[in-house]
Amino acid sequence: MNIFKQKWNKLGITGKFSLAFALMLVFMLLISVTSYCSFLYIGNARQIIWKSSTIGQLVLEMDRGLEKARRLHGSFFIQYEQIGLQAAHETYAQPSVREIAKVISLSRELKKLISSSNSDNRVKINPTDINLYLSSAERFAETSIEAVELISLRAAPKRGVEAKLQTVFLTLERTLQPLPEIWPTFMQGYSLYKDYLANRQRFIMQSTLNIFDKLPSLVTTTTSIGDESKTSITTLLATSRKLTEELLAIDLAIKSKLRDFSLQEQTVSPLSKKLHQITQKEIKQARDQVGHIYRLTIAIMLFITFLAACAVLFIAWVMHNSVTKNVIKLTNAAEAFNEDNLNARVHSCSQDELGQLGIIFNKMAERLKDLVENLEKKVTKRTAELSASEQRFRLLVNNLPKIAVQGYDIERKVIYWNRASETLYGFSTSEAMGKRVEEIIIPAPMRETLITEIQNWFDNDIAIPASEMILQDKDGGEVPVYTSHVMLTDIHGERVIYTVDIGLTELKLAQEEGRKNQLFYRQLFSHSSSGVAVFETVADGRDFIFKDINKAGEAISKVKRDDLLGKSVIESFPSIEKIGLLDVYRQVWQTGVAQHHPASFYQDDRQQAWREYRVYKLPSGEIVVLYDDITNQKQAEIEKNSLEQRLLRAQKMEAIGLLAGGVAHDLNNILSGVVGYPELLLAELPKDSALRPPLEATKEAGERATAVVADLLTVARGIANTKEPGDLSTLTREYLNSPEFIKLQSQKSQIHFREHLASTLPLISCSPVHVKKCIMNLVQNGSEAIEKEGSVTLTTTTRIPDAKWLQKHGLPPKEYVILSVSDTGMGIQDKDLEHIFEPFYTKKVMGNLSGTGLGLSIVWNTMQDHQGAVIVSRTESATTFELYFPATREITAANKPIGHHTEEQGNGEKILVVDDEPQLRDLAKSMLTLLGYNVTCQDSGENALAYLQSQQVDLVLLDMLMEPGINGRETYERMLEIHPGQKAIIASGLSESDDVKAAQTMGAGGFIQKPYSIKQLGKSVKKVLRN
């Protein structure tokens, strides 16, 4: 119990009321549920009563109907002889049939009702009984009609059997009466017939028939009647027998019907009684149930009501103790406090809201008590503070600089004049006090009006509005002021007007200055070469509206100022969000810190340009954007970058080329021996020599190595210096018919090689060997990039690229013949693209059959040598290398193809071989000797020069790189000093270098790439000697 009390005390008022109302609601629900169940059940019972009553009523109606039908039918049988068949038919038979039809209808209705009642199993009437009742009623209808028909057959006037029989008997009676032999017999039979009609006993009719059976023989034997009469009598007798038998059958049938009625009554009567009893019983049971339910419901509801009343009293008691009592305590305490009992307090024991209220009340009372006790002290203190404050205020007003305050009484006399007024108007306080305002500072033209306005204010409370005015000072000078007025009531209750004047002289001056500034800045704004746009921030900083834009801005943005003003920047320049400028606007608007937005490329439907922005915020909140169009500058930068990159690549490739060239030089020197000596030996060996095969193998190996070195030398540039006119399509076809391509095709059978070669192309000046090498490398690379199935397509075409493209790729503007090799392979990754042309880069991806890793380097170098370019482009499905060759329209003598020569053989001309490599030196000597030349060798440039000091030679074969000592160029230079016009051939393992070019410029007639064959050497020597 204590726990319950504690929990109850802790419970809030809402909780307490909720519990109380919930309990009451439970009781209300209980009463409602009980009532509902009772009404439901009573409704069911009433339904049963209604159905039972209806059934009972129907049964009664049927019973009465059937009884009435029987009665009418019985009356028909009884009355038809007295009142006539027709009348009996109309009076009894027809109503009987109608009654029975009604009974049948009622039976069917009852059957339907019971069938529906049986579905809910409430009315306990056996459908079988109703079936029987209905069947019996129908049978009664049927048999009663048949019975009436039988009666009609028997008793109908004239046409009934009895009537007909009576007629026959009467005829016979009249006919036979005169015949004493027959008459008694006939009458005996006729009498029996009448007895039959009274008793309807068949054996009586049998007796009649027995007697009448004798009549035909009597008639026959009677002589007193003629034959015709005999025949007539015999016919009548036969008719009477037939009718008699019919009557017997009808009577038998009528008896059967009467028995039938009796049986039907025996069937139906107990059935009616039973149905009636059942329905009455049902009604009684239902009524008993209703009564029982009523009593039970009343008892339950009384009990629940009693419980509810107890609960309400209990709740009231609890709520009084928990709530009302505490409210009363609070009220009493408040009343006591109100009656100055500052010690009044509330003593509450609950912890609910009222308890809290009590605690708060006590605290407030304590606080009030404290306040009241300290109020006097505080008033004194506050008064002193107020006086000091007023004094401060007075001093403040009196000493306010620039703000002149004057006070006027109702007579417009000055009652207050502060120092600022003295300054503004030149009147000292003593001079102004007591004078009317219009006498001192109001110019004459305004006086009358002002006096009226002041008077109007005092009289009618129409205040003078604040306004700018031109008043006058002591000297009569104009004093522009902004003046405002206030009417106060002084401590004596008199109304006075105080006027506050602010001198506008300085302000006017400042305004003029501001106007000039504005004009200045407007000029700056308008004539700035940078675009300047001013925006007003809207949508809480999400968007910016054009407020102004200068002419430069219009020009840069290619839009009219009028078209922009009032428009959203997002709407006008939709891409600014994409380039990040809008975010800068927003940041500047939020932070107020100016920001620089670096160069960015703006692009929308109207314009594309590089721009640079500076954004800052005005103190007034507007956003100002300064921007410049740096498109030209940017393009220049791009071009510069492109140029730098190309230069970088060229330098890189040149460095690599030098490296490769260095290697090639050494290798060439070595290979010169490997290729040359076997060749020499083979020339001297007999054809059937056993040494020939190994020497030939050595020579071939050397030649293959030479090919690798040749690639290196191509990379090192300078090889393709001999150019001839060529057709790019023809060169491509030659490659496509070459053994290399056929071999590649057989190895890559899954790849489909296509060609789209132009039939007529401008010629190009080219080194066919190198061009075909390029084609071979590209085709080979393309095929190796395809892992499974795919295609490699070779296309030739011609094009004049636009200037921008040419500028980008560093090509001069002219027509270009283009070979493109496109493959559907795996493609090239971005990270590889920058390096694919470097020697030995990504061998795995860009591998080639030669295995030198120099394929694309050769391509790049070849294109450089041909003043062309190689462009790589990629799509999702293909990688394309395009080789741009400058087209040439002229075929010069120098470019004519060199014919084949067979005149390598010399004629004893004297040749000096200068080479620091002994082997190569010997090799060259041997070759030249073999060709029929007179050969002398020197191992350095210095020795060669020394030799030439005393000797002359027809030709010098001069190695370019010799160490230590001077190189070939320098040697040749000095040789010319000794023997001007000295013919020479420069030999080098490198491709054509600057030194080689310099030597050639000086007059060296030829250049031969190491390693060289005897034939190559012979040709070069012969060529130079011939020139």
Partner: protein
Amino acid sequence: MFPTKLIRIFLLPLTLIPTLFLYSCSEQPPPFTCTDSIGCVTIAPEEPLKIGVLQALSGDVALLGEAQLNGMQLALDKRGSTLLGHTISLQIEDTGCTPEGGANTALKLIADPQTIAIFGSTCSGAAATASQTMSAAGLTMISGNNSAPFLTSIAGKAAPNWQSGYFRTASNEENAGKVAAEYVFKQLGLQKAATIHDNDIYTRGLTDSFQKAYTNLGGQIVLDTAINKGETEMAPVLAAVVNSGAELLFFPLFQPEGNHILLQARTQQALKDILFIGGGALIQKSFLDETGELAKGMFFVGPSSPKTAEAAQLANSYETTFNEQPTVDYYLSGYDAVDLLFYAIEQTMVREEDGTLHLGRQALRDTLYSITDFKGVTGMINCNQFGDCALSAFDILRLDQPTSGLKGLQSNVVFSYVLEN
């Protein structure tokens, strides 16, 4: 009352819904669908099979009706008074051996839609009206006593009162008249005959078939007359017989009219030379007991008394069960009728696992129409399309020694006739 109702109103649906849900979820055989052309009867597991019984249980013919009930009781005893696990409920009604009685009692039976078949009636007159009512209601009726040709077939064609669904194990006595005619004309050489019937279709059928056969043989029907049921004064009709000059009187009447005819005829000298032939309805112990020596020399035509071992065994059962000897042999055909009906019900009924039975009404009829070689106590039973299931076997009996009683009469067969259906 109130709490119970509360439970019914609120709790019952709450328990029924999940029960029905679970029931619907469980695997159940498809519900029976009645495809019978004239409907079906469904008997719930605890419900009895309802058989209607129409017999003449009042008046002098009550002996015949009671014999039928006894035959039925023996057939019930054979099955322990159950069929297909269900008890058998009998609704027994008395027809009073009249057409109107047959019609009204039949109404009582068909009023209950659970009635699956009717056993009866005793008299053909009652059967004529009852079968009409029964057939229209789609029921099947089988009699062990009706023998009127009008109920099934005459001369191989459907008789006027034939009704679909009507069967009988008593012989069609169309041939009884024929047998009597042949015997009196050919064996006894009598040329003139008189006939008396009582307007019942049984007696009328016999006299008609007799007249037809007799005239075909060359004989002359000198009197064809009738009496009414319930009449006792027979002198006029006997006078008519005398007047007709007849040499024999064929009067296949029931008791007591037949008794009155014979007894009153024996009082008339003019009739002493006339041969009297009665029908099967008079081959009863009660007739013999009442007429005694006066019936000596009288002939009877009736169905042949079964000679099978089963019949003898059933006779013993009869004596054991009812502690008396059979008064007529018709209890045998009554037994066969009930046994055959139960057999057909067993063959036709569709039984569900829970014991619920479904009977197609036309199916039951079809089963009975298709019965062949059913072994009854009266012999092999074969039903034809008109509902005749018994052998057409008749005997002419002559009562030579009234003291020998019914058995003596039945053993004195002077002429026999057997016709296969």
